[in-house]
């Protein structure tokens, strides 16, 4: 619980901005669908590791940033990110003692939930994206989770 106490605002903001940049970084069309949701992973990390520092506010603001840069209906990513961050915060004590593999599996569930909410809002606002490839991002995201959590905890310890 030591980690809960100091609010690592700076690393949080920094990692969120970097993740946002990665989310809008141009990639060739062929591998674009494989891009993991970096910002979601970062938000999930901070929700699990340091929920006191305002993980939900971070989730909401990051979601708004995604809405604006993606040009979709305002609030879509904010809703999905807030819900998933809240879920992750709720399960954080269990998640911290999980092995990396089970953590990745849980992260996969979070990311799928996130995509599902996006999918649902897309459909509800009359803009359905039915490509199957949108469900690739959760798989890739879960695969890079161990890497990302190592990187972010390094940043966090500083």
């Amino acid at each position: 619980m030591m980690r809960d106490d100091p609010a690592p605002r700076l690393p949080m903001a920094l990692s969120a901005v970097v993740a946002l940049a990665l989310a809008v970084l141009p990639l060739p069309t062929a591998i674009d669908a494989f891009r993991p949701d970096f910002l979601v992973l970062v938000v999930l990390y901070w929700s699990i590791e340091s929920p006191r520092a305002g993980g939900l506010a971070l989730a909401f603001l990051a979601g708004l940033a995604l809405d604006v840069t993606r040009g979709v209906v305002l609030g879509q990513h904010a809703l999905a990110l807030t819900l998933m961050a809240a879920w992750a915060t709720h399960l954080r004590l269990r998640l911290r003692v999980f092995s990396l593999v089970s953590q990745s599996l849980t992260i996969f569930a979070f990311l799928s939930g996130y995509q599902f909410i996006l999918f649902w809002v897309d459909g509800a606002t009359g803009n359905p994206v039915t490509t199957f490839s949108r469900w690739l991002a959760p798989v890739i995201g879960a695969l890079i989770w161990p890497l990302l959590t190592g990187l972010l905890s390094r940043l966090h310890e500083r």
Partner: protein
């Protein structure tokens, strides 16, 4: 002691639930307001200005690299470029000789009918910022916005032909929906025989479809499609694409026509925003606040030649294709009803 109790598991969880519900209600409220009432232009514009530094930071290395490549090119490549451009210029001049005569003739004929040509009044060049908006939609961000007089529904061209139209305008940037976006439809005409129909995007940058042509329609591979100008969003006569393949299945009443876009949708870096005669930069930008609207008009009039007085073009009609996240119904194919008998 109170602080300690606040931080125990149950207290935290209820607080979490409360905050989660609050944020979710806020987000749902935003979604509904944005979707139903379209009152969030201000907020969105403000947020986009906040997000702009990130977008610029990401785009700048790529632009820097382009700049570097442009500035550090060898003499040989410059000469090759020059030769190529000269050849293109010769060809263009050659075509232009006839064009001038034809345009004069067309003006005379139209004058007879008391109807001026729907020519483009002026245009500005915009650069594509190298950014992916969404992997599943064909949209790009361009570095010209409300400040430059760009408005929603405005036609965007590139050197090859029609590129797309403006879907959303921010202060400094605008989002352009490509003609290959699945939600985009553009009224076109077969240049050879004037057959009118609608070209629909597929989500594949190299492919459009003509879904509303009956199997008996006179269209063959190699036909050039140009904008018909119907619906008013796009100027007439600009190339949209060439027919790549026509599949006619006798069991179907409609033909399956593939079209290759004329514009280099995935390669171009510069695009043109086009103003038709009668468009004013601020006409369609009603949600702008007063200050930006005036700057927009000022910007538009500064670069705009004196408007032609001959004709009162209707103010910019609703965009022909869905120009926003909403898939508004586009006009039905003008001439050929579905499955019309030959």
């Amino acid at each position: 002691m109170v602080a300690f109790r606040n931080s125990d598991a149950s207290g935290r969880t209820s607080g979490l639930l409360l905050r989660c519900v609050l944020y979710c209600l806020l987000a749902l409220g935003l979604i509904i307001t944005d979707k139903r009432y379209d009152h969030l232009g201000e907020l969105r514009r403000f947020l986009s200005v906040v997000a702009y530094p990130v977008q610029v930071a990401v785009a700048s290395p790529f632009q820097g690299w382009d700049w570097f490549r442009e500035n550090v090119s060898t003499r040989a490549s410059l000469e090759a470029d020059k030769d190529k451009l000269e050849a293109q210029l010769r060809l263009a001049n050659f075509k232009l000789q006839r064009y001038e005569a034809l345009e004069a003739e067309s003006q005379r004929l139209r004058a007879l009918r008391a109807n001026t040509a729907d020519v483009t009044a002026h245009f500005i060049i915009g650069n594509i910022m190298h950014l992916d908006l969404d992997a599943f939609r064909e949209r790009v961000l361009i570095d010209k916005g409300a400040r430059d007089g760009v408005f929603v529904g405005q036609a965007v061209l590139d050197a090859g032909g029609v590129f797309g139209q403006v879907a959303r305008v921010e202060q400094l940037t605008s989002e352009v929906i490509l003609i290959s976006d699945p939600a985009h439809e553009i009224p076109v005409q077969v240049n050879r025989n004037g057959l009118r129909t609608i070209a629909v995007g597929t989500g594949d940058t190299h492919l459009l479809k003509l879904p509303y042509l009956p199997t008996s329609a006179d269209v063959v591979a190699g036909d050039l499609l140009v904008t018909s100008g119907l619906g008013g969003g796009f100027p007439a006569g600009y190339p949209v694409g060439t027919v790549a393949e026509v599949k006619r299945d006798p069991a179907q009443s409609l033909a399956d026509v593939d079209v290759r876009p004329a514009a280099a949708l995935d390669r171009t870096r510069e695009v043109m925003f086009v103003w038709l005669n009668g468009d004013s930069g601020s006409a369609a930008t009603s949600p702008l606040p007063a200050t930006t609207a005036t700057t927009a008009t000022a910007g538009a009039t500064a670069t705009k030649p004196p408007p032609s007085t001959a004709q009162a073009t209707p103010p910019h009609p609703p965009a022909t294709a869905s120009a926003g996240p909403a898939h508004s119904p586009s006009p039905p194919p003008p001439a050929k009803p579905r499955g019309a008998p030959p």
